[in-house]
Amino acid sequence: MGLRTALMCKKFKEYAVLKYLARRVASSLFALLVITVIVFLLSHLSGNPVDALLPDDASQEQIDAFIRDWGLDKPLWQQYATFLGNAVHGDFGTSLKWQGEDAMGFVLDRMPATLQLGGLAILMSVVIALPLGVAAAVYKGTPIDNSAQMFALLGQSMPNFWLGIVLIWVFSVWLGWLPTSGMGTIYHAILPAIAIAWFQVSALARLTRSAMLEVLDAEYIKLARVKGVSESVVIWKHALRNAAVVPLTYFGILAASILTGSVVIETVFSWPGMGWVAIEAIRGRDFPVVQAVIIAYAVIYMISNLVVDLLYVAIDPRIRND
């Protein structure tokens, strides 16, 4: 009911929201532009693609042809200008490693896999962290609080690749419950998602806890109780609704760090997503794909931040009117 009724309320300042969004989009685009420069420079500072892609005993003609074909003989700024011009159209060239594949197309093909894994990881971390943080706040100072915080901390204290491998051995090999690796059914996604999510649970639970503590002291919580609202509704509806804003602001960072986590975890679990592409492409000096994948990461990050901004506006009437 929230957003619709809000729209009906005449004080809703649609215009201000649009302006705010426009500003956010513009600054995101600027950030993206800078990222293209960084990405372009970094990939050109690193090892020569000639040596990564041509055989050890390639002839000079082969090398020359390769350099010509990929424009590696032009001055750097010219290469960048060409790169940017094409990039605007989503054209990052064709992959050097995955022959014949359009670089951005190839990355986009892998994106659903990463989003699927990331989505599940976010889901898991939210589903675990929110109740954990809420319980920790409600039972502040009790063993429940302590063990909730301990559980959360544990995830932040284990290298994720190590956790991933342990999960594989425990749940796939010894217990035989889940497949070890690869992509296919939802079961394939569970272990890698846990390996990514656990790390996030800590931060999220911690934020939820402190936000809940603050909210639970509020007068309107007392009023809800006075109205005869049951304790669980007080906590999950009245309190969490207001406390949720705080962890929500963390979602932008959460999304980014889940994507980053996927770089390592996708390798461990042979999950053919963007993280996997990134590693393989960098190892193979596949310039076009490296550039495409980093830009894709950046775009995902920025979109998720914009979404967070929007949600923020939708969820909290106070902000909507400020």
Binding site: K222, G228, R241, N242, R318
Partner: protein, 330 residues
């Protein structure tokens, strides 16, 4: 439930609330006795920290879970012992039989829900009906508290309303289920003078309409005088004086009450702060002997410092009680 003439609406006997902390425990509500009848308004008056709010909270059994608990006593609503009810039964009492208006209208509405949602939540809990009628009933409740354009306001969020409007909404929530008792905990402190007056008038009108009992918690004797039938004066967790408005104003038996009445500015409506009483109330856990008010009392003598005065009958008819040794002297 049948209610006979001699069963008061609310009867509180020897109520004691204990707060325990690592450093020790103390009683913010210490041996309360009072009654409230139908259509009556009881004022609980005292400085901040005197245990007024704790008294109110203990009546609806919403004391902070781990820290505070009712140690002894009895709270009877129309003869029914509230302290014996299960939590679920108690929830039914809250909101529908005893409603409460909290101190701060700025923060006592949930910023994330519309006014309508918050009012109809009370209906949903205590007087369920078809979903479609909820909105209409919420609008109705708003109309009762004299909110202008209630059809429109019902869809607004609290931050879109003025302070006075919000306080009315809080009132609307309180009366929505036609409770028998409304506990109003300093409901007007943060409102400006005119709004305050309007609001108090409104409460009175509502009481006339429904015949409910009101417990009015305040530090302002000025308000009490206009609104209440009976007064309970609290100091340091104890009731130091109780009786009808007329008698207490005419003849305050306790020096503290006297000081409080003296603190009401002559110009009515001015927000009086109790700055004229010297000194501070004692710290909660301070070991005490004698009357807790003695250190601040101009009329205190050695007996006051030595022994805690019992509750004494000031006028000899049991209608005006005070715990001060001076009552004996009169």
């Amino acid at each position: 439930m049948t209610q006979t003439q001699d069963t008061p609406l609310l009867e509180v006997k020897d109520l004691r609330v204990e707060i325990s902390t690592k450093a020790g425990s103390f009683y913010p509500v210490n041996g309360h006795n009072f009654t409230l009848n139908k259509g009556e308004t009881l004022g609980i008056v005292g400085e901040s920290g005197s245990g007024k709010s704790m008294t109110a909270t203990s009546l609806v059994r919403l004391l902070p879970k781990h820290a505070a608990k009712v140690k002894s006593g009895s709270i009877k609503l129309e003869g029914r012992e509230l302290l014996d009810l299960s939590e679920a039964e108690m929830r039914k009492v809250r909101g529908s039989e005893i409603a409460m208006i909290l101190q701060d209208p700025q923060t006592s509405l949930n910023p994330s829900f519309t006014v309508g949602e918050q009012i109809s939540e009370a209906f949903r809990l205590h007087a369920p009906g078809p979903k479609k009628t909820m909105r209409a009933r919420a609008i109705d409740a708003l109309r009762k508290v004299k909110v202008a354009a209630p059809e429109h306001r019902v869809d607004c969020y609290p931050n879109e309303l003025s302070g006075g409007m919000r306080q009315r909404v809080v009132g609307a929530i309180a009366i929505s289920c036609e409770p028998k008792i409304i506990i109003a905990d300093e409901p007007t402190t943060s409102l400006d003078v005119t709004v305050q007056a309007q609001y108090l008038r409104l409460l009175k009108e509502l009481q006339d309409d429904t015949g409910m009992g009101i417990i009015f918690i305040t530090h302002d004797f000025g308000i009490v005088a206009n609104l209440c039938h009976k007064i309970v004066v609290m100091y340091f967790g104890r009731i130091v004086e109780s009786g009808s408005v007329e008698r207490i104003f005419a003849n305050p038996a306790h020096p503290y009450t006297e000081a409080l009445i003296g603190a009401v500015p002559k110009l009515r409506g001015h927000k009086g702060r109790l700055t004229t009483i010297k000194g501070q109330p004692p710290a909660p856990m301070e070991p005490l002997q004698g009357c807790p008010f003695a250190p601040r009392c101009e009329k205190a003598d050695s007996r006051c410092f030595a022994e805690l005065p019992p509750t004494l009958d000031a006028d000899g008819d049991g209608e005006h009680l005070a715990s001060c040794w001076r009552v004996l002297d009169q």
